[in-house]
Every structure is written in C-alpha cells, then in structure tokens.
Amino acid sequence: MFNNKFLIDNKRGQISDTIMWFVATFVIILILGATIYVASVFGSTKYGGNNFFRGDRLIEKSIFAFLITPLNESGEILFQQLADGSQSDEVIQLAGENLFNQMYGNKYSVSFDVKNSEVTKFTYLEIIGTNVEYFVRGIEILPEKGVEVTLRNLI
C-alpha cells in the first residue's frame, strides 16, 4: 500500500515537472520572440542629422547681413543704431520681419526679437570709451517660434 502511494506520488511529481517545463519553454520562447521583435523595430535604419547642427549657419549669415545692411544714404547700418539705441525695437522687429518672412515664411515663422536687457547693457558711451566691437553671439532658431538674437561685445 505504501509502495503504491509512493509510486503514484512520484508519477504525479514527474507529470507536474514536465508540465512546468512545457509552460516554461513556452514562456521563454514568448519572451525571446518579443525581444527579437523590439530589437528589429529599433534596429531599423537610424537617422542622424536632426540634432547635429546647433543652430542654422545660413540663418546666422542672414541675420549678420541684415545687421550690416545700410539703412540710409549715409551708409549707417542697423548694427550701429542698435548699439547707440537710436533705433526702436519695434522698427528693428518690423525690418526683420519684412526681410525674413519673405525669405523663410514657409519654413519658419520668424519674429526678430532683440533682447532689451542685452542691448541696453552696452551703451554708446561704452563703445566710444573702449572701442569695443559688437558681434552677434547668441542666435537661437526655434522652428515655428522665431529667431532670437543676442548682442554681446567681444570682451
């Protein structure tokens, strides 16, 4: 009697083990299949270029040319007017919009924003006193938002 019960329990144990490994095999294959699928999806051609260029070299060139464009017969450029504060931000912005929206209207929605704090920081007196050359240091291009120019001096 004891022997029979032992044999039956032993058989049940083997069946239980076998079922467990069948299920385990199924689970292992399922997990491997899922990871292979994920690797295939993420492993397709990867694209470079979206974050490679910090800013846009050609828009920088455009803005620079814009700042040195003569505004009148005497050859005064916008850059000088910006530096001595004789040109209002509204006029600059309008000039920028007129030019850049013509060129980039379809690609960028451009607003030409010169930061007040940055412009007023460097007054005309400082230019005369130190003979500082100004240059465009920060240009941030935000697609659909605009172009932001920050003027800084060389020192």
């Binding site: 051609t45 060139k61 040319a65 040195i68 060129m103 980039y104």
Partner: protein, 172 residues
C-alpha cells in the same frame, strides 16, 4: 530522465544564444543614415565659400550682378571635390552629389544667376514637391536660402540646394 532534461537544456541554451545573436545583429547591423548631415556640411561649406561676414566674397559677382562663379570653376574656387571612392559604380551613373546655387538680386529688374554641378540626373529630387514628400530611399536634398550683400551693398537672396545620394550604404 536526466538525459532527456540535459538535451532539453542544451536546446533551450542554443535557442537563447541564437536569439541574442540575432537581436544584436538586427539592432547594431542597421546602418545610420547620415546623408542629411553630409548634405548640411556640403551646403554650409558652399555658403562659406561664397560669402563671409554678410558679404559675397570678392570675385563671386560683378557690380552688374553677373555671377563669376560657375560649374567650370566651382570646384577650384571652393576647394570641394565630389570624389566617392566607396561608390566606384557611381562614376558610370554620374556621381553621388548634386549642387545647385541660385542667386536673386533685389531691385526693379530682378537679377538672377545660377549654376549646377554634380549628377544632374538627381536634380528632380531637389524639387520642392519631392523634398516635402520625403522618402527614405530617395536621395537627401537640403535647399536653403540666405540673405547676403555684395560689395556695393546690393541685396541678394542666395539659395543652395545640396543633394547626397549614397542610398546603398545609408538605408537598409
């Protein structure tokens, strides 16, 4: 029983190892498509060649807005070459690059000039329609305009189209 289980373990081991190897190949074997970067570098190099400090460089344009640079002297003037040793077959098809430069002057009478170099069979891929449509198997074309002055302070809009084909090594 033990024999059966050890065979089972070996089978599982090989399946797992095979799957891991396949995943590594699938993930890291895919190419990086860097044609957009290459086209951008080419475009910027051309822009640097043609303009500096907001002005067109000397010898690029006359005071009558005649473009001096053209397809014959472009490579010498800009120190650029379109050689692609990794794409030997491209010699027979015309090359892997195409560049078009167009300049439009401001004024009542619109001054216009343009030239193109490289594989002109690829020109169609720089059409606005195809650029907008975009397709990963098509050559990559970057078309960008910028504002520039000449030495006489005349205003121009310069448009550079830079195209790179190299589909075989960039797209899976």
């Amino acid at each position: 029983m033990d024999k059966t289980i050890s065979v089972y373990w070996f089978v599982i081991l090989f399946i797992t190892a095979g799957a891991v190897a396949y995943m590594v190949v699938a993930f890291y074997g895919a190419p990086y498509d860097v044609r957009k970067i290459e086209a951008g570098v080419l475009r910027d190099a051309i822009a640097e060649c043609l303009s500096n400090g907001g002005y067109l460089k000397e010898g690029i344009i006359s005071n009558e807005s005649k473009l001096f640079i053209n397809s014959n002297n472009f490579f010498d003037n800009c120190s650029i070459n379109f050689k692609t040793p990794d794409f030997a077959e491209s010699v027979s098809t015309g090359g892997e690059y195409y560049v078009e430069v167009e300049i439009i002057g401001e004024g009542d009478k619109l001054d216009k000039g343009s030239f193109e170099v490289g594989n002109i069979n690829l020109r169609e891929f720089c059409s606005d329609e195809l650029i907008e449509k975009g397709s990963r198997i098509n050559p990559v074309c970057l078309k960008t305009s910028f504002y520039v002055l000449d030495s006489w302070n005349k205003k121009y809009i310069l448009t550079i189209s830079a195209l790179v084909r190299k589909t075989e090594k960039n797209v899976q």
